[in-house]
């Protein structure tokens, strides 16, 4: 037997990227804007979705990604919009969503009249950033309680996203955190990143998010 070396030069995630690219195109052809929300657990993604649903009505829908439970989907469904829950427990408890699972989800959803599809990715700032889910916009949600240093600690999530939503700004009077330092650190990692500051609880700054979606 002879030893042989084969030059491969193939992207490891090419199968995922292919489906992601097809999804991006198919949804654009249907006139649907697909936004992938990534964040640490408890950043306020679901509360943002609830308020977005109340303000924009039923032309949006949400795919919820969680390792376990349907709690987030139940919360958002109460706001009167279509939701779909992906539990990755069935896929080995994966810490991120992949494009094939999004494809399966939308094949089961009724997208008639839908203008914006949101994915609430699994709550962590590491793994979801590695996988293209086919979104037109990747966004990071960062709550003010998480500290100024997160963009520097999780650079890939901030580098692969074009929008950062700084959430829970109603809590700023009770914290030592300086929002300008958060924005400075975002600029270090991704100078072109758009930033929207809001509180989904009080509605402060929320109009900027709604205008971004329109």
């Amino acid at each position: 037997m002879d030893k042989t070396e084969i030059k491969v030069m193939k992207k490891i995630l090419s199968a995922n990227d292919k489906i992601a690219g097809e999804l991006r195109k198919d949804l654009a052809d249907m006139g649907i804007n697909f936004i992938n929300l990534m964040s640490s657990p408890g950043s306020g993604k679901t509360t943002i979705m609830e308020r977005t649903a109340r303000e924009l009505g039923n032309n949006i829908c949400v795919i919820e990604g969680d390792i376990q439970t349907t709690l987030d989907a139940e919360r958002v469904a109460k706001a009167g919009i279509q939701t779909y829950q992906i539990n990755t427990g069935a896929f080995g408890g994966d810490c991120h969503l992949e494009s094939a699972w999004i494809r399966s989800a939308i094949d089961e959803m009724d997208l008639t009249g839908i203008k914006t599809l949101f994915v609430e990715n699994i709550g962590n700032l590491v793994c979801p950033a590695e996988f293209d889910v086919g979104a037109h916009t990747n966004a990071v949600v960062l709550s003010v309680t998480e500290g100024e240093d997160k963009p520097l600690k999780y650079p890939l999530a901030f580098q692969t996203s074009s929008l950062c939503i700084i959430s829970k700004i109603d809590l700023l009077p009770y914290l030592d955190i300086k929002i300008e330092e958060i924005k400075e650190n975002i600029k270090m990692v991704n100078p072109k990143m758009k930033v929207i500051e809001l509180s989904a609880k009080t509605g402060e700054g929320f109009e900027n998010w709604i205008n971004f979606l329109k």
Binding site: K3, I6, V8, M9, L13, D94, V126, P191
Partner: protein
């Protein structure tokens, strides 16, 4: 633990290549990973050694990982530089008008195997 999903994908590609190239066994898979990925070499190797047992012809296969520097280009003064920290500021002109030019690679470079 995204390394598990990444190793699964690379084993699937390597399996197809083993069949296509009619290799009796795979002895080495060499991958290139840009440092911007949050991928830990030891975790990749541990996953590879565990998951390869599900594939035939991989008993003696090893995973080799080469890391690639994060390189950035300044759009203002055209200076190209590497960074160790995620700070996209040009060291020459202090501009933030910069673009990542390498560091996000994640691909299989070569596969080595035995053939009759």
């Amino acid at each position: 633990m995204h390394e598990g999903a990444i190793v699964h994908s690379l084993l699937e590609i390597a399996k197809d290549i083993r069949i296509k190239e009619e290799l009796n066994e795979i002895t080495e898979v060499k991958i290139v990973v840009g440092k911007f990925h949050q991928i830990v070499e030891e975790v990749m190797i541990a996953n590879f050694d565990f998951m390869k047992t599900e594939y035939s012809g991989f008993d003696n296969a090893i995973l080799l990982m080469t890391e690639k520097e994060v390189s950035v280009k300044c759009e203002d003064c055209k200076h190209e530089f590497t960074i160790d920290e995620p700070i996209f500021m040009c060291p020459k002109c202090d501009s933030f008008n910069t673009e990542l030019i390498s560091g996000k690679e994640l691909y299989i470079e070569t596969i080595e195997g035995m053939k009759e």
